[in-house]
């Protein structure tokens, strides 16, 4: 009875996590008869009676409230279609755009093909159409700088605890950095060298995300390069 696998260990699909009715499955696991079984490759997390599997890999799964960075792929009469790095494009309606768009205006004048926008997911329908908005603090069209990609599951590590990692990189390189939950990161600095340094630091975080004391390591890296 109870939990069969130690908390914070790695589980793979089909692993029986708990036995009996004392625990409830939440994200990344399901109940089968008397067992709670893992559905994903991830880290086991037990919160009171809730069992959760935090995925370690996989493409971006959109969630309402997430800030994402995407590229304009297509447009129609009243909406832009933004590639946000998952199976479905995000729909950005004209009324959800920051800029005022006149009636019958050419949408390409506002956001053109290939433009990047920082947007927020407002609604996900049952059929997986994703509504996004650029209305809100910090949401806008991206001008200048560059956009890089990291694995979506590594985003929490790039941000760090209460944003510690990203603010350290910001301070160390004098760049503005916006991290989208979909793994797209916008870096804007005063000169290209700063941007390159920030890119290098972020990719270092991605590659060495499992190493202990990563914050100190990145700090040393930034100071050495300065």
């Amino acid at each position: 009875m109870g939990i069969l696998i130690k908390e914070k260990s790695i589980v793979v699909p089909g692993d029986i996590i708990a036995e009996g009715m004392d625990y409830l499955p939440s994200l990344g696991c399901f109940r089968e008869g008397k067992h709670v079984v893992s559905e994903r490759l991830g880290l086991l997390n037990v919160d009171n009676r809730f069992i959760k599997v935090i995925p370690l890999t996989g493409s971006y799964v959109p969630k309402v409230g997430d800030t994402v960075i995407g590229e304009v792929k297509d447009m129609s009469f009243g909406a832009w279609f933004i590639d946000i790095g998952c199976a479905y494009d995000g729909t950005l309606m004209v009324r959800d755009a920051t800029e005022f768009v006149e009636k019958d205006a050419d949408l390409a004048q506002v956001y053109n093909f290939g433009d990047f926008v920082v947007a927020k997911i407002v609604k996900i329908t049952r059929h997986s159409s994703i509504h996004i908005t650029t209305k809100g603090p910090g949401l806008r069209k991206i001008q200048g700088g560059k956009v890089i990609s990291v694995t979506p599951s590594k985003v929490p590590r790039v941000i760090g605890k209460q944003g510690s990692m990203v603010s350290m990189i910001k301070d160390g390189t004098n760049c503005t950095i916006v991290v989208g939950q979909n793994g797209k990161i916008w870096i804007n600095g005063k000169n290209p060298d700063d941007e390159l340094l920030a890119t290098e630091a972020i990719l270092k975080v991605e590659n060495e995300s499992h190493i202990d004391g990563l914050t100190d390591k990145i700090k040393a890296f930034l100071e050495k390069k300065k």
Partner: protein
């Protein structure tokens, strides 16, 4: 003539040496290598991603597309690259053997692509391909109810053996080859039979397959877990 001793001195219920590894293709969403004896299969998973042409889309759930290919140099006589009757069939049975454990209801209108390449073949390639694909799907973070393991069993001469190699497959008039795939609970997701066996022999073969698959299952899970050793929860 009775087949009393296996060509490579294995026991009748002993498999060849198995090796498994994940994350071998950095650009893919998930990838894995599965090696059993001289047979080596690699699998890459992409997606879920949008599916075109549109008429293939299923608005209720995502679809799984498997693609099995043997590399031209994988066998002793060069094999013509590109799809063939055989590889089309194996692609189909591979996707059918993986679908029962996959949960694609969260990805309507989308597709999960699985590409399986056989880089070296010495019998049992479809089973190695399924094992690699199952690991690659787990590595890609696709929701799965369970993992799938596969092994071939068969009848060589008058003996039931597990994991035939090429020499045994070609023994005398050719062996009876039975590729079997099952989940960790022993529920069969693939069973093909090519040749003659009687009922008792088939049951014995399935017993062997069950034992072999549970061994493979342990190796697959270990390979996935080992890759992430040392990852910390934040």
């Amino acid at each position: 003539m009775s087949y009393t001793k296996r060509f490579d001195n294995r026991k009748f219920d002993e498999m060849r040496k198995i090796e498994a590894k994940v994350d071998i293709i950095p650009r893919a969403d998930g990838s894995a290598m599965f090696k059993i004896g001289d047979t080596v299969a690699i699998a890459a998973v992409y997606g879920p991603r949008s599916l075109h042409p549109k008429f293939l889309q299923d608005p209720e759930k995502g679809i799984l597309r498997c693609n099995y290919t043997m590399m031209p140099f994988s066998v002793s006589e060069r094999i013509r690259p590109g799809p063939s009757r055989r590889s089309t069939e194996i692609s189909l049975v591979t996707s059918k053997s993986l679908l029962p454990v996959l949960d694609l209801t969260k990805f309507p209108n989308a597709v999960v692509d699985v590409f399986i390449q056989i880089i070296q073949a010495n019998a049992g390639t479809r089973c190695a391909g399924i094992c690699a694909a199952s690991m690659a799907l787990a590595h890609a973070g696709i929701p799965m109810k369970d993992m799938v393991a596969a092994v071939s069993v068969g009848k060589v001469g008058d003996k039931i053996v597990i994991d035939l190699n090429k020499e045994e497959e070609d023994h005398e008039e050719g062996a009876t080859d039975i590729p079997v795939a099952m989940n960790s609970e022993g529920e069969i997701t693939l069973l093909q039979l090519d040749g003659n066996v009687n009922k008792n022999e088939l049951f014995q073969a399935l017993e062997f397959a069950k034992k072999g698959c549970s061994e493979i299952d342990v190796i697959q899970r270990k390979a996935l877990k080992d890759f992430y050793k040392g990852v910390k929860n934040e």
